[in-house]
Symmetry: C2
Subunit: 391 residues, 2 copies
């Protein structure tokens, strides 16, 4: 039987008492079946809910987060004290309008903000799972979310959305539970992780594992963490989230707090200082082993492979309406990858709209102030809601 | 007075007795003046020479190597026992034909294959320079090469060429010594390192410095080396040298020696295995501190900044003929950056040919079997040689 509990944080001292979100703990008799063949029990899903579920329970929008995201899509993040990762998109009067919709954002399985992941205590040993945690997949994440929705008594989702890995979850939702998904907005994503993206992730993982403080994954036992390795992994990732044009515009070759080159190895250039900041702040809110597990889940994602290599078969029988969105300067999840999704969904007979949004801000554009993105999401949701008689 | 000496290797046990190349050692009275304001003396330049200098001393082609290259452009590399990095381009009957031209390829200042760099003994302390080595620039590399040419009695260079950082050196040669350079073939390069490229380099440097065995740069004293950090840096670099298309074609999502995903963190995918191999073999032939210094030199490179921000002023007065070459899929040194060079050289009144070569192999294309590249280089050199009456 599911019960509501306080979410667990890997570093509880960093999280203020308030705004910890909600959590469901599934007991020993409610295991999560995993693609690797193992089961996970008990387990917790931490989530945030915004807005109100209507009487017909028909106004749920499921927001799925990306690699470095969490359940705090909107409002103040309890660890960073900064706005949630989709503050521009989710909230009262925002494109995903919490005055109108009931927005659910769960932390993924394998994560580190309260949902069970490698930093949690393994009940079998009384120690953190570390690398004994099973390697999870995007399908496992979605399977766990379906259990959460069951527990919350939500049968149908008006729209499932997310960017990057969030988009992968949206696609998996349609494939795994087509009857539950009225509409889907996969953004800046792919139906399979490409070789280049696997390569960048692999380097990030090697950087973490190369840190002497990683200690075979058992760093929590020793009260240390592989901060430098995780920071390097984050820096690599961060470069790939931006476009060359955005980096040139934001930083170019501008120097940081100096008039001339230092002829040293400190951060002479603003872009170096910026990256170092990104790396060092990330380690305060993210668990290194979670980074390994979540990147692995993305690498493993290949939706067509689940359906005999035919992506359109993944959407067979679905009556889901799709809005597929990409950004011109996103070289990590380029338009071509997003178009493959739209084409496959159309081939499966679903109603699909596809839009490539002009932006020079790279993959990160899905998190930023992009009026064309907002307008497209708002109009699509208006249309879907109208179809379903949602005021 | 300059004297010929055996080159020094940071890991002499790895270098076979044969094929060590040549070296000039400049004495205490022949300092190299550096951009940082310091001088370096004594210092050694290791180099390889291929072909024969003609009686008129007019057939020299200066080949400048890239970040991870060295003087072994052609023939067997003494450490790796594999072909030199430009084996396809340099040799008897090759586009840079050593039956016809005298090819000189020096190891750069800051390098680790015999030219003085951070792994060499600092005569002032009797210990390896490590981070006491001055931060050098591409202009310093070229200044040292000019001293080598003086020492060898070579006044004029028929053509200076190189890809990536080699192309930066070629541009600097024209700017610093226009009267000595008959022609230049900068390939897949830029007149200034972009923010994105600085960012990738910075992450590589942080990976090296994060390795516990880096020890503030003093690893050689302790008989260790930051192999894991250097391997991560190399892996990052290697991804950027390839195109997404090349990675997709070569590897895609193919698995390595297995039929199914392992649900672990070993190299499931071929692209992971390939990258790990690239990283682990690199550390056997490259010094980690050299990697810091040479990447820094590239980051600092901004030729226009030496001339009041006007790139064409860098080539003012030069009568050098240019052949500028880029590759369609090179996203590290894209065509637009190479075109800026050609435009500036043309604005300075030089004779410039520019060609973008269609290739899906990314930045690395300049090292690979690219018939259009070979034909362009051969034809250009034929034309330059004919003008100068070289048979």
């Amino acid at each position: 039987m599911a019960e509501t509990v306080e979410p667990l944080f890997p570093r509880p001292l960093l999280a203020p008492e308030a705004a910890r979100g909600s959590a469901f703990r599934f007991g020993a008799s409610e295991p999560l079946t995993l693609d690797c063949g193992r089961t996970l029990a008990p387990f917790t899903i931490a989530y945030m809910a915004y807005g109100k579920l209507n009487a017909a329970r028909s106004n749920t929008i499921l927001v799925c987060h990306a690699l470095s995201g969490d359940q705090f899509a909107s409002g103040m993040h309890p660890v960073t004290s900064r706005p949630g990762w989709w503050e521009t998109m989710v909230g009262p009067g925002k494109p995903i309008d919490t005055n109108r919709y009931f927005v659910l954002c769960p932390n993924v399985i394998g994560g580190c903000m309260g949902t069970t992941g490698p930093a949690e205590i393994d009940p079998a040993t009384g120690k953190p799972y570390a690398l004994d945690f099973p390697v999870v997949t995007v399908r496992d994440m979605v399977r766990a979310q379906a259990m959460l929705l069951d527990a919350l008594g939500i049968e149908k989702v008006l729209s499932v959305t997310g960017g990057s890995m969030g988009g992968m979850q949206a696609l998996q939702w349609v494939a795994s539970y087509p009857e539950r998904i009225v509409s889907a907005m996969p953004i800046a994503t792919s139906a399979r992780h490409t070789a280049q993206n696997i390569a960048f992730h692999e380097v990030g993982r090697r950087a973490i594992m190369a840190d002497a403080d990683w200690r075979g994954g058992n760093y929590l036992l020793d009260g240390v963490q592989p901060s430098q390795g995780l920071a390097v992994a984050r820096m690599i990732g961060h470069i790939t989230y931006l476009s060359e044009a955005a980096l040139a515009r934001k930083f170019g070759r501008a120097l940081q707090d100096r008039d001339a080159l230092s002829f040293g190895f400190g951060p002479d250039f603003q872009v170096e200082s910026y990256l170092q900041h990104q790396g060092s702040t990330f380690v305060n809110r993210f668990d290194a082993n979670s980074y390994l597990y979540i990147t692995r889940a993305m690498d493993y994602f290949d939706l067509a492979a689940q359906y005999g290599g035919d992506l359109s078969a993944a959407f067979a029988g679905a009556r889901t309406r799709f809005l597929c969105l990409s950004f011109t300067s996103d070289w990590l999840f380029p338009t071509a990858e997003n178009r493959l999704i739209a084409d496959a969904a159309a081939a499966a007979g679903t109603e699909v709209a596809f839009r490539e949004i002009a932006s020079d801000r790279g993959h990160d554009a899905f998190l930023l102030d992009e009026p064309e993105l907002f307008a497209a999401v708002r109009a699509f949701l208006d249309s879907v809601a109208a179809e379903r008689g949602i005021v």
